[in-house]
């Protein structure tokens, strides 16, 4: 048997749910010890998902989580050697996972776990500070672009207090009091070493979306107002800068930092 044929048969058997007596390597796969490989592969994948989605695991409990994760693994095994990134489609899987139907917010909580992971490993970059903008002419500022920091992640959830649910299940402290059921946004940043997060309203979220698209500061301010008529765009910009959401202010034409 060629090496490639061996590897085809072995890999197929690793994730197969049923043993096929007619498959190549059937007698090898039937050895009790084959289970060691099958179990190790599954355990490593499920362990990685549990590490990457801790708020989800805390919400549903270990047994439920690991069973759901095992189903995900069978359908979507890792495609990359770094398990830190495994599970990009796990939130979407949870959204369509029938046993999770009673927890419609679970997929969104998973999305925030994913945001945290992405922020945690994002490239290092200096954070734009308010003092960096001192002396920049207002007209120049309007046309310039605020470049989001590589470790900045944000989302707005109109229908449920996802940030509160996620945050309460992220740390080791018990959640305080009851969570009011209304929409919430969240901004994650990494201004120092650790990933931190705070509340984000719809206007600020839209502001960031526009900045991420490469829109100017003026365009971002307009977008924020369009999303929320009561927004104070200048205040939004200042708050986001203070939170460490941006890496640079760049001149529109040259794309160089101001």
């Amino acid at each position: 048997m060629s090496l490639a044929a061996f590897q085809d048969a072995f890999a197929h058997a690793l994730l197969a749910s049923r043993e096929d007596a007619r498959a190549p390597l059937a007698s090898l796969v039937a050895q009790p010890a084959f289970a060691v490989y099958r179990n190790t592969v599954m355990k490593s994948c499920v362990d990685a998902l549990e590490a990457n989605f801790p708020a989800v695991a805390r919400l549903v409990g270990e047994a439920w989580f690991r069973a759901a994760a095992a189903e995900y693994v069978a359908g979507e095994p890792p495609r990359e050697p770094s398990l830190l990134a495994y599970g990009a489609t796990f939130p979407a899987f949870l959204a369509g996972f029938a046993p999770a139907a009673e927890l419609p917010y679970l997929a969104d909580v998973a999305r925030l776990d994913r945001c945290w992971s992405e922020s945690h490993v994002a490239a290092d970059a200096p954070v734009l500070r308010a003092q960096d903008l001192v002396g920049v002419d207002t007209a120049v500022l309007a046309d310039a672009k605020l470049e989001p920091h590589p470790a900045a992640r944000w989302a707005f959830f109109a229908d449920a207090p996802i940030r509160s649910i996620w945050s309460a299940n992220r740390g080791t402290e018990a959640p305080e009091g009851e969570i009011a059921w209304r929409g919430e946004g969240v901004l994650l940043t990494r201004p120092d070493s650790a990933v931190v997060w705070g509340a984000l309203d719809a206007g600020a979220c839209t502001f960031l979306d526009e900045c991420a698209r490469g829109g100017s500061v003026a365009a971002a301010m307009d977008a924020a107002l369009a999303a929320d008529g009561d927004a104070d765009p200048a205040r939004i910009a200042a708050t986001l800068i203070d939170a460490g959401a941006f890496a640079r202010l760049v001149a529109p034409a040259t794309d160089r930092a101001l």
């Binding site: 048997m1 060629s2 090496l3 490639a4 061996f6 590897q7 085809d8 072995f10 890999a11 690793l14 090898l28 050895q31 009790p32 010890a33 084959f34 060691v36 490989y37 190790t40 592969v41 490593s44 994948c45 990685a48 095994p77 890792p78 495609r79 990359e80 050697p81 770094s82 398990l83 830190l84 922020s119 945690h120 490993v121 994002a122 490239a123 290092d124 970059a125 590589p150 470790a151 990494r190 070493s193 650790a194």
Partner: protein, 278 residues
């Protein structure tokens, strides 16, 4: 600088103690796959450790035994990490884990045919060229009786060294586990292993399969090193002398102090041999 004696796997929950530990000859090993990131605190911790102690990179996912070349992108990221960390040793496994676009997080076996040897030698060559350094290849743990070997493992590894100039990482626990599972003599394997090529040694704990008990030992890295493995290590050092030796514990982690005690036992044996040789 102190020569490397006994080392420990670097675990996030022990970062601060690892950083502060003043033990002579101490070094740390990590799986590079856990550090192939663009930035952030994880990498910063590793660099802080590296500023104080030598660090070795022990890859698990390069899949050198797969019947295709190693992934270019993965090699490039490994190289970038190696440039940043300046590892004392770079190692990988005689195993495959990536196949047709999927990654199976384990170290998978293969029949030791001449075809496999040619492929693995080519892959080791590609990896050494890309990384700009010699890599050490680790002997596997065996659970399955596989048919179709053209080469015995010792001869296979010896030939791999001859063709590529690579080093070897002798995992003594893997020898003990494999010998028990396949029915060969662990002592004879240790005695026959190509000594000059050994760049690093691993010692680890193992466990019994929950269903099959003693009939199937598992290289679980979740227990102290067994006395039989210490004895094999002593036998090895008596023949080839001291080499950097890692105490591998990956699961059911005890306190750092307990790992340090285990490490101390290996360190004493190695330091004694180094003193004798001097």
């Amino acid at each position: 600088m102190n020569p490397l004696t006994a080392g420990l796997g670097l675990k996030p929950q022990h970062y601060e103690e690892a950083l502060a530990c003043p033990a002579a000859g101490l070094w740390f090993e990590v799986h590079p796959e856990n550090y192939l990131v663009d930035g952030g605190p994880r990498l910063r911790c590793l660099e802080a450790i590296r500023a104080r102690h030598p660090v070795a990179l022990h890859g698990v996912a390069l899949s050198l035994a797969a019947d295709h070349p190693p992934d270019d992108a993965h090699l490039a990221r490994l190289r970038a990490l190696a440039v940043r960390i300046e590892p004392a040793i770079v190692s990988e496994h005689l195993a495959w884990s990536a196949w047709r676009g999927a990654y199976y997080p384990d170290l998978l076996p293969f029949p030791r045919t001449s075809e496999a040897l040619a492929r693995i030698a080519a892959n080791v060559g590609i990896a050494q060229d890309a990384l700009g350094c010699r890599i050490a290849i680790e002997n596997p743990s065996h659970y399955l009786s596989i048919e179709g070997h053209d080469w015995d493992e010792i001869a296979f590894l010896g030939e791999l060294v001859r063709r590529t100039g690579c080093g070897l990482l002798l995992d003594v626990n893997n020898v003990h586990v494999s010998a028990a599972n396949l029915g060969f003599d662990a002592g004879a394997y240790i005695d026959a292993f190509p000594g000059e090529a050994v760049v690093e040694v691993h010692l680890a704990g193992h466990s019994r399969d929950p269903l099959l008990g003693d009939a199937l030992l598992v290289d679980s890295h979740d227990a102290p090193v067994a006395e039989a493995v210490w004895a094999l290590h002593e036998r090895l050092v008596a023949r080839i002398g001291a080499r950097p030796t890692l105490i591998e514990r990956d699961d059911r982690l005890p306190l750092f102090g307990e790992l340090l005690s285990e490490r101390e036992r290996a360190h004493r044996a190695l330091a004694f041999d180094l003193a004798e040789a001097a």
